[in-house]
């Protein structure tokens, strides 16, 4: 696994803690808006991390993680709106409920592989906005209108702005979840997950309970993405069914592919990346119109789509994996072996032909 070298990890952590405090010194560089943006990036990173646990490390394709994100966001919103929960107390509930939902969805998914699992999750992603608008749930979900919430308040009278606090809140959750994920993957269970990804039948013969691992991984993955959803509900202070459409799941997919399938650090890069592109779509569009002189509204999804295709050819290990391989080849260390956690993308080429 291309883990960060430890010293870089510490540098990043310190930077992550210190930079927001520089706001009084550098008010333009560290503006409230930028802090908010970074918070959404961290939320995105958690969601992509969840997807990566499932797809990258367990080999189960999901095009429907937007559904779990939606469940997490709605659990948080409903608890805050109806039961007056404080925002931080919603996270465990969102995690547990999403785990259950993910586990249950993992049960039929056990019988599905490859394209079929992609299809089932694709269907799930398309159906989510409709399910959220279901008439019987309207009392809870607020129907088409959605639910309006309050932003998290700064606790203990800390001398922070709302956005600074939101930043730290997301930062703490992200660091904790990253730490937990990297520990899971280093453990026996993590190796079992990857063994199932690499060769399902061999894992089975070695005594790994593949059904249990696959469903539990589905649950954990859903819980991660659900926590991201819950965080986003308090960050944006609003949930509405139509924001959880299929394109949300596409964003997670682009995060996964850009960051690298089967790379924890890459998930963070992927999350940062898609929020960045999403937010600069307007600028991109004006660039195309004014500087290139094309009468064409370039949207973020065109960029995403092109990247999805191009990356599959050029950097199947994602940007993180690609850069890592590049650095290694520069250093001329031992011959570059395929990364242990490299995605199934580089393996099993004969799969398609065997199934007849």
């Amino acid at each position: 696994m291309p883990a960060f070298p430890k010293k870089w990890l510490i540098v990043l952590l310190v930077l992550g803690v210190v930079v927001p405090l520089l706001q009084p010194v550098l008010p333009n560089l560290v503006s409230d808006y930028r802090l908010f943006l970074v918070s959404t990036m961290m939320i995105a990173a958690i969601a992509v991390l969840g997807l990566n646990l499932l797809t990258g490390f367990n080999g189960q394709i999901s095009l429907g993680h937007g559904a779990f994100y939606a469940v997490g966001a709605y659990i948080a919103a409903i608890l805050m709106d109806q039961a007056n929960f404080p925002y931080w107390a919603t996270l465990p509930f969102a995690a547990v409920l999403c785990f259950i939902v993910g586990y249950l969805f993992g049960l039929p998914a056990l019988k599905l592989e490859g394209h079929y699992l992609a299809l089932a999750t694709f269907a799930l992603a398309l159906a989510v906005p409709q399910i959220l608008k279901y008439k019987w749930l309207e009392g809870l979900t607020g129907g088409v209108q959605g639910i309006v919430l309050n932003k998290p308040e700064v606790p203990f009278g800390l001398p922070l702005s709302e956005d600074q606090w939101l930043y730290y809140y997301c930062f703490i959750v992200m660091v904790f979840l990253y730490w937990a994920a990297s520990n899971i993957l280093k453990s026996r269970s993590g190796r079992a997950m990857m063994a199932i990804r690499d060769y399902h039948i061999a894992a089975d013969t070695m005594g790994i309970d593949t059904a249990l691992y696959k469903t539990v991984t589905f649950g954990i993955s859903a819980a991660y993405t659900g926590i991201a959803g819950a965080l986003s509900a308090s960050a944006i202070a609003f949930v509405a069914p139509d924001s959880f459409n299929f394109f949300l799941s596409i964003k997670f997919l682009i995060g996964l592919v850009v960051g690298g399938v089967g790379s924890l650090a890459g998930s963070l890069i992927g999350g940062v990346f898609y929020v960045l592109v999403d937010n600069s779509a307007q600028a991109l569009s004006t660039f195309v119109k004014n500087d290139l002189g094309l009468q064409f509204d370039l949207s973020a999804y065109t960029v995403f789509g092109i990247l999805l295709i191009v990356l599959m050819y050029l950097m199947p290990m994602g940007i993180a994996g690609g850069v890592y391989a590049l650095i290694r080849s520069f250093r001329r260390a031992a011959p570059v072996s395929p990364e242990r956690s490299a995605p199934a993308a580089t393996r099993k080429p004969a799969q398609a032909g065997e199934s007849h």
């Binding site: 797809t55 394709i61 095009l63 039929p108 019988k111 599905l112 592989e113 490859g114 394209h115 079929y116 992609a118 299809l119 089932a120 694709f122 269907a123 799930l124 398309l126 159906a127 409709q130 399910i131 608008k133 279901y134 008439k135 019987w136 039948i201 299929f246 394109f247 596409i250 997919l253 592919v257 399938v261 064409f296 509204d297 370039l298 949207s299 973020a300 999804y301 065109t302 995403f304 789509g305 092109i306 990247l307 999805l308 295709i309 599959m312 050819y313 199947p316 995605p343 199934a344 993308a345 393996r347 099993k348 080429p349 004969a350 799969q351 398609a352 032909g353 065997e354 199934s355 007849h356």
Partner: protein
């Protein structure tokens, strides 16, 4: 009773659309083992092309033929340029590329023609066409057009040498290559035909669902459900599955409606169409993955 018949007729009309898209999906699946998640968006794009041609003054049927031809070329190009190198790639790469195509088609259509919903004309005469009170002229027209297209396709695959070569290339690429069939081009041709059939479905359904870049999302999902019900490797099954699912969809909504009328309890209605499709997809995949007419595939380890 009349309402029931109306629902049945409109189910058959929807079913014709689903049958077309499902057939397109099956054609690609049979030859390459890929599920084309971008099929719906490709059809949507072709529908916009026909709309554009009509606003430039062409008549409906001329625009129809040009748009279908365009999507044929587009399909061949996509296969040759984008999918050819991925022929033996793992599933995830293929799925990701299809999702990429979906995103590109959707956003480019939105960029060129905007996301505003547009009206789309019906080519069928309003008066003295259709059976009053049961089936509208457009619905009847849709069923007729799709039946003609399906018959043509059937004849093409059954009675022409090219159709035979394409079937051979799909069933047994190696053998086909040995007897001199250019398998690569047959696959590309299959893609082109699938895209063209999809385009027919898009153009036919646009009058009903109105024209917008997201119009095919639900239809694609129902088409997948149809293909699965019929057995995903079976073209005839896909067509039958399309009609079954189309009627089923309307019957479920109709039953929900009747229950609400009788008891006042809302269970299911038009707002849950995609959820119904989701349930069909998961149900068929887990309970009877081979569908009604499909072969059970045994994997050799």
């Amino acid at each position: 009773m009349e309402q029931f018949l109306q629902q049945l007729a409109s189910g058959l009309a929807n079913g014709a659309i689903y049958a077309c898209v499902a057939l397109a999906l099956v054609m690609i699946y049979v030859s390459t083992d890929h599920l084309n998640f971008a099929q719906g968006e490709m059809a949507m794009f072709s529908t916009y092309i026909s709309w554009q041609l009509m606003t430039w003054g062409l008549s409906f049927w001329v625009a129809f033929i040009l748009a279908v031809a365009f999507s044929f070329v587009l399909g061949v190009l996509i296969e040759r340029v984008i999918l050819r190198p991925l022929h033996n790639a793992p599933v995830l790469s293929v799925v990701v590329v299809f999702i990429g195509l979906l995103a590109i088609c959707n956003s480019v259509a939105g960029a060129i023609w905007s996301y505003l919903i547009k009206e789309y004309p019906s080519p069928f005469p309003k008066s003295s066409f259709g059976i009053a009170g049961v089936i509208g002229p457009h619905q009847l027209g849709v069923v007729l057009v799709t039946l003609i297209v399906l018959t043509l396709l059937f004849a093409f695959f059954r009675f022409t040498p090219l159709g035979l070569a394409m079937r051979a290339a799909a069933q047994n690429p190696q053998m086909a290559r040995l007897v001199g069939v250019r398998v690569d081009w047959m696959l590309a041709l299959g893609w082109g035909l699938a895209a063209a059939v999809g385009a027919v479905a898009g153009i036919m359904v646009a009058h009903i669902v109105y024209l917008d870049p997201n119009m095919m999302g639900g239809i694609l999902l129902y088409a997948f459900a149809s293909a699965l019900v019929g057995g995903i490797g079976n073209p005839g099954g896909a067509v039958v599955g399309g009609f079954i699912v189309g009627v089923l969809e309307n019957m479920v909504a109709y039953a929900g409606n009747q229950i609400e009328k009788a008891t006042g309890v809302y269970i299911i209605g038009n707002g849950e169409k995609l959820t119904v499709a989701l349930i069909i997809v998961i149900f068929v995949l887990t309970v009877k993955p081979a569908g009604l007419f499909g072969r059970v595939i045994v994997k050799r380890v």
